[in-house]
């Protein structure tokens, strides 16, 4: 637990100093909400229909931005080398980065969510809390696979550009499950929602374990 919390602490301290990651994610997420509103110009009933998709597109794109940022701070000044020299195993390094990525994404999403509810004329009630809970699950799955793929993409010549190309095909089940569960919550028909929640949970656990095992190969020289 100690190396994990040390990495999270380090990332939080860096973030408190420059406030770059969360502010850029937040801004980008808001821009997505605005652009989609212009692109679709939804009215009344349509709005509730397309809102879940727009929300998760905003979360996904903002998340990709955050993942790229989280790794680029490690690549500047060879910080990653320093982390690899530190007395902690590679798996803990991965878990630590997942935790800090997850925390930053969650903070940005918690700020985007009320604005989303406001923009799309949804209600601040139990629904709001349920969507927040869903974001928690979906974001965790996204962070688990995103952390290892951002480390892979940082090794390529294209760096940042490579991440969405690798990440989106693999995280489609997460995006799909999150959108479907969010629509179920918004429409009030929560009957089939449990299978989507199981899918998100299962995906997170499987990818967390698999990435924990193979992360060593990604960072070794």
């Amino acid at each position: 637990m100690k190396p994990l919390s040390a990495i999270v602490f380090k990332d939080i301290v860096i973030e408190l100093r420059n406030k770059e990651t969360i502010s850029s994610m937040l801004m980008f997420g808001l821009l997505v909400l605005v652009v989609f509103n212009f692109a679709f110009q939804p009215t009344g009933a349509e709005r509730a229909l397309i809102a879940p998709g727009i929300l998760w597109v905003a979360f996904t794109f903002a998340g990709i931005l955050g993942l790229n940022r989280s790794l680029s701070i490690e690549l500047d000044n060879d910080c990653l080398q320093g982390l690899l020299l530190a007395p902690l195993d590679r798996g803990s390094l991965y878990l630590g980065k997942v935790a800090s990525n997850f925390i930053f994404m969650m903070i940005a999403e918690v700020m985007i969510l009320p604005i989303f509810v406001l923009f799309y004329n949804l209600r601040f009630d139990l629904q709001f809390l349920q969507i927040a809970g869903l974001s928690f699950l979906g974001t965790f799955a996204f962070a688990a696979v995103g952390t290892i793929l951002s480390t892979i993409s940082a090794n390529t010549r294209m760096k940042e550009v490579m991440l969405p190309i690798l990440l989106i095909p693999l995280t489609l089940p997460v995006i799909l499950a999150s959108v479907m569960a969010t629509s179920a919550v918004l429409s009030g028909e929560t009957e089939g929602i449990s299978s989507w929640l199981y899918l998100l949970g299962g995906f997170s656990i499987v990818y967390l374990v698999a990435s924990y095992l193979v992360f060593e190969f990604v960072v070794e020289e």
Binding site: R157, L170, P173, L176, M180
Partner: protein, 223 residues
């Protein structure tokens, strides 16, 4: 040697499979002739999944053994994957136009095939942007393993999301005519042997490519 045997076997089996698919198999009651594309379409769909698992398996073996022969197998598997997903999507579209009236429907299995195809292409993009041979093999292996794990998740998520595809003919439960089933098995076998033949040829080419890369490296070192 294996390659030559596979080549001859695939030639013979393909001729036999064509006979089975076009002449031996009875006409379908509702669709008529267009249904015969399944003898090509269904095996290609199945082989694209086999390629994804082969890619993942080669990745795991490479990470354990660190032998570049597993990386060559991974390249072959991924290229077969691109070929099979493309073939099944194209034949599916050709079939869908007269039967469903549209070239493309966002149906569960089509979407799954498309996604699998995108995964294979992403795999090649990753390889293309990794200059170092050793690192390319290692990171591509990790991505291959992560992609293999994704297949069942994709399958179930898309299955729950929407489906209007004809139910799978092989595990759909006994409704298929025995002659049609036999023809389907024969064409599946023929296409599997053909893919295995292509894979052995690809492995031979990959070995030569590696040698060329090594020799180029030597020449540059002397200059």
């Amino acid at each position: 040697m294996t390659s030559r045997v596979l080549g001859i076997a695939s030639l013979v089996l393909m001729v036999f499979a064509l006979y089975m698919a076009l002449i031996y198999a009875p006409q379908e009651a509702q669709q008529g002739t267009p249904y015969r594309i399944i003898y090509f379409h269904v095996p290609m769909g199945i082989l694209s999944f086999v390629s994804a698992y082969l890619l993942g398996f080669a990745g795991i073996m490479f990470l354990i053994k660190r032998d570049l022969k597993w990386d060559r197998l991974a390249i072959g598997a991924a290229e077969l994957g691109v070929l099979c997903t493309a073939c099944s999507l194209i034949t599916g579209s050709i079939w869908a136009k007269p039967i469903w009236g549209v070239w493309w429907a966002w149906d569960a299995r089509i979407t799954l095939q498309l996604l699998l195809g995108l995964f294979f292409i992403a795999y090649f993009m990753l390889r293309a942007y990794l200059p170092d041979r050793e690192k390319r093999a290692k990171l591509a292996a990790v991505f291959g393993v992560l992609g293999m794990i994704d297949v069942p998740f994709n399958y179930y998520s898309i299955e729950w999301w929407a489906t209007q595809h004809p139910q799978p003919v092989l595990r759909g439960g006994g409704s298929i005519d025995p002659d049609m089933r036999l023809a389907l098995y024969v064409s599946a076998l023929a296409l599997t042997v053909t893919c295995a033949y292509l894979l052995t040829r690809r492995l031979a080419i990959a070995r030569v490519e590696e040698e060329v890369e090594y020799l180029e490296h030597l020449v540059h070192a002397h200059e």
